[in-house]
Point group: C2
Chain length 159, copies 2
């Protein structure tokens, strides 16, 4: 299994490409894709989507891992994130990926062993577990890597 | 302007391809695309998206018209609709379309002259205004045609 894991958004999109090899998770590539705040939401989804498609074409993952979406207090942001998420799922499926979704609790449990870990504990464990994790990344990039860890822990070792 | 107008959804997607010619709106094609309720949301978005892309490739519109999204009481449905909407916007933009969004009030005013018209009044006027409108379509298809009327009324006559 080669997984592309994402922390979806139209403003910042965390992306991580990972594999499970020789007993541990390997990070092949990670980034945080950004879009221009001055552009319209359709333009931002298009730019983020095309950059995401570029990563898929370069790394040819067979699986997309994505966190399940929960509503936050800002409804407008939630709609935008859902729209970006739908575009990214469509792109990944069109590229042949199988889609797996994980709840925040599943992701935290996979990374730290505890479903209510705070953000700092998750980032610390991601850096220790996953070879090649950058040290000064944005939270979205760490969240994507954590989602990839959950996917490899759940499905990656069986394949 | 050749507009593809949609009433977005992952369960049913209303689609209408329209032009303004010789003083009136012409419907080139309309349909209501359906997805299988037994499939996962990512699968349904993928199926609906590919069918939508097929219509774009056949009719080569230059514009996408879509209703602005408002939250309804069913949060899960709202997330799904937003995800489908994002995928469809991405597909249309990737195919070179300009995106225009319209509020329900703008659409009703364009069709009936009154922003609080009920659904029946909108459908009656759509059938009278737009040559080629089918008589026994699903509401989603009429809503797409109504959105196309709003787009052509706002932008179509200037181009």
């Amino acid at each position: 299994m080669r997984v592309i894991a994402i922390d979806p958004g139209y403003d910042r999109l965390g992306v991580a490409v990972m594999e499970y090899r020789a007993g541990s998770e390997h990070l092949l590539y990670s980034t945080c894709l950004l879009s221009d705040k001055n552009h319209s939401l359709p333009d931002r989804i298009h730019v983020i989507g095309d950059a995401f498609l570029g990563v898929i074409e370069e790394y040819t993952p067979d699986t997309l891992a994505v966190e399940t979406l929960f509503f936050n207090k800002n409804v407008k942001t939630a709609i935008g994130v859902a729209e970006a998420r739908g575009a990214l799922i469509y792109i990944a499926k069109s590229s042949g990926c199988t889609i797996y979704e994980f709840s925040p609790q599943q992701i935290k449990t996979s990374v730290t062993g505890y479903g209510n870990s705070d953000k700092k504990a998750v980032i610390d464990m991601v850096c220790r577990l996953v070879k090649g994790t950058p040290t000064n990344a944005l939270d979205d990039e760490y969240d994507a890597i954590a989602t990839g860890v959950a996917c490899l822990a759940t499905y990656g070792r069986r394949i």
